[in-house]
């Protein structure tokens, strides 16, 4: 009993620590990537290539004067960033980051590089906790007692719930093909076999429509450009976190980047085979674990870069365009994907 708890605790610390490190790295990648795309240098003074810049930023933000504006609802104002961070730190616990089902540590089965490998509700947990994130944004917007914040928070909540439907329907397509809610079952189904001997059996091939809908929807769910209507610097100055400063401001920023990491990991897991890689049948135990982490890392890095790449390449939507795309574009497409997967399974086209 206590050994299981200890192994779980270590997994929580290691995986959450890795995600938090990735957040810092992504801040650097975002700034350097933006500079690269805009033909300038970006932060390059602190440490090699400016790599220590996020640490300096964090320390600076910690020591900033902790300002609470006079007109805010104090309790909710303090609660909002905490909700955002907690939710962002909870969502990734059902994602399998690597192999390791066959490994035992101190007599306890490791169950893969996944915080909660035995959780039966699987991806439902992620969707349920993930949608709580909207509370952080709405409460921040409302409690700030500021017109920009209120508009940003309202817009963002309407946007999140609009795109959540399409996202859930796209996930349903994958669950339909898998027949399980658990993400390790989703990964296991995609690994090891090939169409025509070369194309890995990733869900992206039969469900390209669902994949596109899902990627677009998670861009909206993470409030990233081209869907960052909540922040819209040019009209709302900074949206729901106008009144926030010091580490409370950083909390919103960090939860945005954590959500980005979770979203990328989810795209990889649902549609691009998770940690599986060609030729993995030859390995087992610790070598398989190490190689699976590398495979997952490469796929994850691509989608994280995609987030940065898109942000600095596309302009922002107008709000009515955003709503039209969500309700009239993505929702029918996601339903079409679901019907297609159902029919293909009934006809035996998808195994």
């Amino acid at each position: 009993m206590w050994a299981e708890i200890a192994v779980s605790a270590v997994k929580v610390a290691v995986i959450a620590g890795t995600v938090l490190t990735l957040v810092a790295v992504m801040e650097w990648v975002e700034r350097r990537g933006a500079a690269f795309i805009q033909d300038r240098l970006g932060p390059n003074r602190v440490g090699p290539l400016g790599l220590f810049q996020p640490i300096v930023d964090a320390v600076k933000l910690l020591f900033k004067e902790d300002l609470t504006p006079a007109n805010v609802n104090r309790g909710l104002y303090l609660l909002a960033p905490m909700i955002s961070v907690s939710v962002a730190l909870l969502t990734f616990i059902v994602i399998p980051f690597g192999a390791g089902k066959d490994i035992t540590v101190f007599g306890v089965p490791l169950g893969g590089i996944e915080v909660a490998p035995d959780l039966g509700v699987g991806v439902l947990f992620l969707l349920a906790i993930g949608s709580l994130g909207v509370y952080g944004i709405v409460l921040a917007g409302w409690s700030s007692n500021n017109k920009y914040s209120l508009l940003g928070g309202l817009r963002s909540s309407a946007q999140l719930i609009s795109y959540e439907l399409s996202m859930t329907l796209a996930v349903l397509g994958v669950l339909l093909a898998t027949g399980s809610l658990r993400l390790d079952a989703v990964v296991a189904r995609q690994g090891g076999q090939f169409w025509l001997g070369v194309i890995p059996q990733w869900n992206v091939v039969p469900q390209i429509l669902g994949c596109i809908v899902f990627v677009v929807a998670v861009f909206a769910e993470t409030n990233r450009l081209p869907f960052d209507l909540a922040e819209a610097e040019t009209e709302l100055v900074a949206g729901y976190h106008v009144e926030y400063s010091s580490m409370k401001f950083a909390a919103f920023l960090m939860s945005e980047y954590m959500n980005m990491v979770t979203a990328s990991a989810l795209i990889v897991t649902l549609f691009f085979g998770g940690w599986t890689f060609p030729g993995m049948g030859r390995f087992s135990g610790w070598p398989l674990l190490a190689l699976s982490l590398v495979a997952f890392g490469i796929k994850l890095a691509f989608f994280l870069w995609l987030f940065v790449w898109v942000r600095w390449s596309l302009p922002r939507f107008r709000y009515d365009q955003l709503m039209r795309l969500g309700w009239k574009g993505l929702l029918p497409l996601a339903t079409l994907n679901l019907v297609w997967v159902g029919v293909a399974m009934a006809m035996g086209w998808i195994r």
């Binding site: 004067e65 909870l90 909660a116 500021n146 339909l176 950083a250």
Partner: protein
Amino acid sequence: MIAQYIPVVLAFAFAVTVAVAMVGLSALLGRGRFGRSRTRDTFESGMPLLDGSRKRVSVRFFVVAMVFIVFDVEVAFLFPWAVSVRGLLAEGNTTVLLDGLVFLVLLAVGYAYLWREGAFDWSRRGSQS
């Protein structure tokens, strides 16, 4: 059964600790070293504050929220169906796909009605009548 939630509880404790630590450390380390700040007014791009911000907002937000509730509840019904299709097909059940499609057709009727009513048109005025 309960054991599968042990990691969830641990992760929850970790998440709450990090969140409280962030806000708490900021309050502790950033405490008024610069004297009481005079910039505690609500920020409005430098303009003097004329009125409060708790005003009426567009009813559109309410419509979107209501439509979301309707559809989200129906999508929740699709989860048990989606998860059990594979097993039922393997057992030779032939109507399971039809069941799902009938449900989706019912959803589509509601969707078409909302579309015609203009619930998805953000910019059109007076479309609620």
